[in-house]
Amino acid sequence: MKKLSDWEIIESVKKGNQSDYSIIIDRYKNKAFSLLKRMLKNELDAEEVLQDCFVKAYNSLSKFKGDAKFSTWFYRIVYNTALTKLSSKKRKTETEMSSVDDHINLKSDYDYRVSEKQDLSKFINELVNSLPEKNAAVLNLYYINEISCEEISKLMNTSLSNVKVMLHRSRSALKDYILKNNLVKELL
């Protein structure tokens, strides 16, 4: 069966086929959930905010003209909603996240059992989760959501060089952590 493009589905939803919106939900829910989980550091909040994002996107579908990719447009909604949620929780998001010069400190007391090979992806996941919100968001958008640095800069409303610096610093922080804890062999 032919896979419908996002644009085709949106056109159908706009024509009144509300149930077609569930195809869009299916397509983006898990990747957007990952992004929110990493930014909000809380699974329940992430799922609640994600529901809000889908409702928000549905209400704004008439504003989506197809100039940008639907994914970029939708992830921008997700990212901005996460920032609003963070600021409403009065977390120090700006001081923690905005400066790319901040040094990233990963928790050094992470109790990783070398024998737990099956938990390798969980371990990497937890390392990414322990990054500051914006850095974790960049890694998530780049690796899981498979969005280019240019698109990330657009949706985060920042410069391309800032995105690259954040990406490099996040990777380097993870690299430093695994070197410091002699985890290279375990991860191979």
Binding site: Q18, S19, Y21, S22, I25, D26, K29, N30, K31, F33, S34, K37, E47, E48, L50, Q51, D52, F54, V55, Y58, L120, S121, I124, N125, V128, L139, Y143, I144, L167, H168, R169, R171, S172, L174, K175, I178, L179, V184, L187, L188
Partner: protein
């Protein structure tokens, strides 16, 4: 000693260096064990991140979102009907008053062949006063009171619902 900084290693990994820089980095990586170790660790991080899978939302997530959308649009429809009903009643009252006035003017004009405009206005004014007095006296008053009370109860319900929704939205 590290000859290559993290930025260069990251750019090399991303393929963002030109040929000359790339050759130089490769030469250093070949000779410097410390740099090679750092680069291998960085490459490993990149590989592990590349195979990360997205987390999964709880089952029934789609249904919850679709239910929220359906509820929201059903409520909006209901509110639209209410607004239309209120507007229709208002328009009906206005039309009735205007009709009553016109009827009064026509009947007065019929009685007098050359009525003075001031007389017509005066008579119409008196008619309106009489009509209003009749409307708010005796049995009519209780009917009008009941209609208004009913309208206030319905409006109150919608106002309460709106406040509840607004509070819920603020809490999100």
């Amino acid at each position: 000693m590290n000859l290559l900084n993290d930025d260069i290693l990251n750019n090399y990994l991303d393929g963002a260096l030109d040929t000359k820089e790339r050759t130089e980095v490769e030469k250093i990586l070949k000779n410097s064990e410390a740099d090679r170790k750092r680069f291998n660790a960085l490459k490993l991080v990149h590989e592990k991140l590349s195979i990360l899978k997205a987390d999964e939302v709880s089952p029934g997530f789609n249904d919850n979102v679709m239910l929220r959308l359906k509820k929201k649009y059903a409520r909006a429809k209901q509110q639209n009907y209410f607004i239309i009903a209120v507007a229709a009643v208002f328009v009906f009252i206005c039309v009735a008053i205007v009709g009553y006035l016109i009827a009064g003017i026509i009947s007065t004009a019929g009685q007098n062949e050359s009525p003075q405009l001031i007389d017509i206005v005066n008579r119409s004014g008196k008619n309106i006063v009489t009509f209003t007095q009749k409307l708010f006296s005796g049995e009519n008053l209780s009917i009008i009171g009941s209609v208004f009370s009913f309208a206030i109860i319905i409006a109150g319900y919608f106002f309460y619902e709106q406040q509840k929704r607004m509070k819920a939205n603020l809490g999100r």
